[in-house]
């Protein structure tokens, strides 16, 4: 009998203990303040810390709050779960950077039915959004990488070029690679020999690069439009003594984890766009959408009069707001991009 009582007691106490921490998360005063939830591809990618920082600047300027929500590992299903959950929390605005353009659409539509305003940023979905806040057009991003790589190959670019991408299913990367290949094809001496995948994983990107350099001993250049794949590519090249310009590299990633390889000359064409500005404009656009200032139709525009990046941002015919151009990082300017 006594043992039964003890068991009941322990179970009761332990259950309470298990759930206590959560109990302390009492409901925050559900203010009617504007809130933006940014649904990102993966919570460990530093790139999205930069976009969040931009949105926070905007939030300071016009009020409201913003938070990042992303799966620990890039996964379409996890993003769908997150969007659904946010919709049920009745967050007024949700900005999504889809890792799968199709999978998020039903969830985004559901969120709209529940009253949220939904838009996409960084990467587009195949539907279900009024407009897409784009850092730069995919075409521009791909071609920019190609131009930088070609430039580093000298006046008469010759040889084999390979691509190290993220997941095979990554939509952004696939668009950029298409543009990159198109640009490269304009040069007779250059051939794209292979595309390998690093799966957003340093180890896999590293091993794939090592295999590339063995397989193509005369490889001239690598295009790696992936973060954190790019630093892994650079590290791998140094490891097989083909760094410091022996094989030219171009690609995009955040400076905080890549700058070292740009400074030591392993990465020649190191570029990105301004992710802080991307987050900044996304926040303004989301706020305008929630306030009813815009419906998201092509031709509408938002105007930022005061603030960090004032200007007029127009929704284009393709349903995109393009916030800028690719930016090349150099030894002189990289410190200005603190992300």
């Amino acid at each position: 009998m006594a043992s039964k009582a003890i068991r009941a007691l322990i179970i009761g106490a332990a259950t309470a203990a298990a759930l206590l921490p959560a109990w302390l998360l009492s409901p925050k005063a559900q203010a009617d303040d504007f809130q933006l939830a940014m649904v990102i591809k993966s919570s460990t990618n530093p790139y999205y810390k930069a976009t969040l920082a931009g949105a926070e600047i905007a939030a300071k300027e016009i009020g409201g709050s913003v938070k990042n929500y992303g799966p620990t590992e890039s996964s379409a299903q996890a993003q769908v779960d997150i969007i659904n959950n946010l919709a049920d929390r009745h967050i007024p605005a949700i900005a999504v950077a889809p890792s799968d353009p199709d999978a998020v659409v039903p969830a985004m539509k559901r969120a709209e039915r529940l009253g949220a305003k939904v838009l996409t940023f960084d990467a587009d979905s195949s539907g279900g959004r009024p407009f897409f806040v784009n850092q730069a057009t995919s075409d521009a991003i791909g071609r920019f990488g190609a131009v930088l790589l070609i430039k580093s190959l000298g006046p008469n670019p010759q040889g084999q070029v390979a691509i190290v991408s993220a997941q095979p299913t990554a939509a952004n990367q696939n668009l950029w690679i298409a543009a990159f290949k198109d640009e490269i094809s304009k040069y007779k001496g250059l051939t794209v020999v292979d595309t390998v995948y690093g799966y957003d994983n340093e180890q896999k990107a590293f091993d794939a690069t090592v295999a590339l350099t063995t397989k193509y001993p005369h490889l001239a250049g690598i295009f790696a439009p992936t973060c954190p794949g790019l630093p892994a590519v650079a590290r791998a090249l140094e490891s097989v003594n083909k760094g410091h310009g022996a094989i030219k590299v171009s690609g995009n990633c955040v400076p905080s984890i890549t700058a070292k390889y740009m400074l030591d000359g392993t990465i020649d064409g190191f570029y990105l766009w301004n992710p802080i500005k991307l987050g900044y404009v996304t926040y303004y656009a989301a706020k305008a959408l929630v306030d009813g200032k815009i419906q998201g139709k092509p031709g509408e525009s938002i105007t930022i009069t005061q603030g960090k990046w004032p200007g007029k941002y127009v929704i284009g015919a393709n349903g995109q707001i393009v916030t800028g151009e690719p930016v090349q990082f150099t030894a002189e300017n990289y410190k200005d991009f603190n992300f």
Partner: protein, 347 residues
Amino acid sequence: MTGIGSGPGRLARSRQGGVLARLLRVRELALIFALAIICAAVTLREPRFLESANLEQVALSATLVCIVALGQALIIIARQIDLSVGAMVATGAFVSADWLSVHPHASILWVALIGCVVGGLLGAGNALLVAGLRIPAIVATLGTLAIYRGGIIALAGGRQISATVLPDSYGHIAEIHILGLSLLVWLAIGLTCALGWMARFTRFGRNLYALGSNPEGARFAGIAVRRHIAGVFILSGVLCGLVGVLWGARFGTVDAVIAPDLQLQTISSAVVGGVSIFGGSGSVFGAALGSIIFAVLQNGVQLIGVSQFWLQAIIGAAILGTVIFYSRLARRAERSERRSRLARSRS
């Protein structure tokens, strides 16, 4: 068929069969044979596989998995399993790199120590659940896998620690060469030999085999079962912490999601290396060979121009192939054993 791990003199015991069959009885030799075939096949398609630069990279990528697989092999030999190794590596790597980025002038040995201590603590967490609270290892480490991984991601808060903020001396660990071989490779060889020696020549090691072979019997024989299980989990944790430190040195960048499927890689390495999933037999040398085979396969598939999409399928087929091969081998050995017993009893 238990491999050389179950004691010396295995070779002397093989009686029947041809030379080849006899050699194949010792799983490690069968593995070396398989490895040679794979290497030959890859070389035939792509001779550059044998270039020293490439071989060194293969050895290096085997190294990190190998060290973790050593601990995993000992755990499996003791009839347990550790699913949390990847999360422990990530935690060890991140915590030690984070500390180093704050103390860039600290000795690299301190960093290694911190990594090992962090890993050891996490291993002790597993040990507490498995040996202390008697939760089955597969379930307990499934839980700690989530807790450790979630914990380090939360702690990291989306940060990555890159070579940019780390001192160069850290990254140079991976480039130190002794007698033409990388320090990391030497470390893996040293650890393999040390743990192999431990498994064969210390009571702790032999007791692990004993309690994997017959846990109840181990208790009756006066072996402190729980202390041994706790010990081997802590050992695995320490090895993971160490690998975390090396991880950062090799790849230059550390974040909280590194080594996502290390548990499957190490378990596969151990199993392909001849460690019985039911415990009691196998050796750390086998597990080390297993990790090399996977590294060669990985590199080979990318070299011979097969699309990368085939890699997973080939790895899966390799695992299935080896375990089926082992089971045929064991069955044949059993049959011949029975036949010879019969012959002896009839004579």
